[in-house]
Amino acid sequence: MDKNRKIIVSILILLVLSSVLAIIDISITMQGTGRDAYRLRSPETGPGVGIVRVYGPIAIDTAGAGPFGVSYGSDAIVERLDELSRDQRIKAVVVRINSPGGTVAATQEIYDKIMRLRKDNIVLVASMGELAASGGYYVASACNYIMANHGTITGSIGVIAVSPNLKGLFEKLGIRMNVIKSGRYKDLLASYRDLGAEERELIQEIIDSSYKKFLADVSLGRNIPIPEIEPVADGRVMSGETALRHRLVDELGSYETALAKARALAKLPDDSPVYDEVTNPIERFLMSLQGTKSIADIRLDHHSLYNLPVVEYRYQP
């Protein structure tokens, strides 16, 4: 072999050596220095815990799916739960709640979906953040296990409908409404006049019916008889600690504790993967273009188009 060929062969050998060095370097860096870290980690694909986030006021987003097909509000939460129930890898779901509640129908839809997952033997653990009151608690009560922080504001079991009475203001400004209606109750809760006794009764009936449903569902979800819940179901809010005392929650702990509990209840290993809702950076970018961070977000500009008195499972300080 002549000299030139020897030089090239030497270069090739050096290249192979540098490749081997690079692979060793990468492998060592990847494995870290800790005892556990020596174990090679495989990509997160196995059985694990799904995350659903219920953040902010609960309502059906009236704007529907955004321009990029990303839907929001309670519909999106139900869709996410449905997606998780169809995913064979999901053995447990943590429902992370940070919500003051919201409209009755939207809350009930989420509750029903969670109950359906529960019947399919998927372990559901609710993790309460700062606030999980009224409708937020309603949703949590559907889960197998509820974890609240010590300082979580929860409870507020009750129903509310608020409508401003602007009659005095209208009179002062000399504004009079022309109302042509088909029935005497068609402008129920109108802001330009007083609420009549019969009208109040009608609204009260809706409130009472929704309240009974709330109590019955909490009783079913928590497996506590209604008479035991009733004493604290007067709309009062309470801390996580008080809620634990009244058996409205099962344990005090953080989101991490809730994840660990979900794994334990589903008999999953401690390092089983967590499948959060939106991890794809492109999807996150599209959501930011639509002005939201999470699928649970309601685009309030659209939601406020309702601008009507609604009956709500909502904590309104």
Binding site: S18, I26, S27, R41
Partner: protein, 199 residues
């Protein structure tokens, strides 16, 4: 092919890549068996580039996927790119009155990639000493691209017996064309997306 490999002529090709690209072009034009071996160069370059990029980024178990299958994708892309640019360079050559021979151009382009294998040892050194490895990765990538381009231009000059500046024009024309097409495609895409969002 076996005899060709045993003859160790391919080592001479690698030597000529570094020392005399004109001689390389002449040798490649004479030897038709050099073409299949030429496609081994993108494969080696792919592995080296995957390793070079991997030592710079955060290291996860995904590395094993990249080094097992990822380099194949990388290799396919480089080969596709060579065939595409080679065809365009050939067309540009014919447009300037030279005889077309896409076979030889693709062959030269494959061998011209060989200096890029030096990216890994170069980046590895800066990575070990943790001295601006990303900066040097970019710097060396640009330098090696220029080196590869120089090899192709010298090869084209030899192949077409053309002056160096005319060979450079033949080589640059496809990039100007591709750059223009990419630019206008991007403008149209941005206009479409903005229109869709604001509609």
């Amino acid at each position: 092919m076996r005899e060709f490999l045993k003859s160790l002529v391919w080592i001479d090709y690698i030597y000529m890549v570094f020392t005399d690209p004109r001689k390389l072009a002449a040798a490649l034009m004479r030897e038709s068996r050099s073409l299949p071996l030429g496609f081994a160069v993108p494969a080696i370059v792919s592995i080296m580039e995957v390793l070079a990029v991997s030592i710079l980024g955060s290291q996860t178990a995904f590395f094993y996927t990249k080094i097992t299958y990822g380099w194949i994708l990388c290799c396919v892309l480089i080969v596709f790119q060579n065939i595409l640019i080679g065809s365009l360079v050939d067309s540009a050559g014919q447009a300037l009155g030279y005889q077309g021979n896409v076979h030889n151009i693709v062959n030269i382009m494959n061998y011209s990639l060989f200096p890029r294998v030096l990216l890994l040892p170069a980046v590895l050194i800066f990575s070990v000493f943790n001295f601006a490895p990303v900066f040097f990765y970019v710097l060396f990538s640009l330098a090696l691209f220029v080196w590869s381009a120089a090899i192709v231009i010298l090869g084209l000059s030899e192949m077409h017996s053309a002056a160096l500046h005319r060979a450079a024009v033949v080589f640059i024309m496809p990039f100007v064309l591709l750059g223009g097409v990419t630019f206008f495609t991007m403008v149209l895409t941005v206009i479409t997306i903005v229109g869709y969002i604001t509609a």
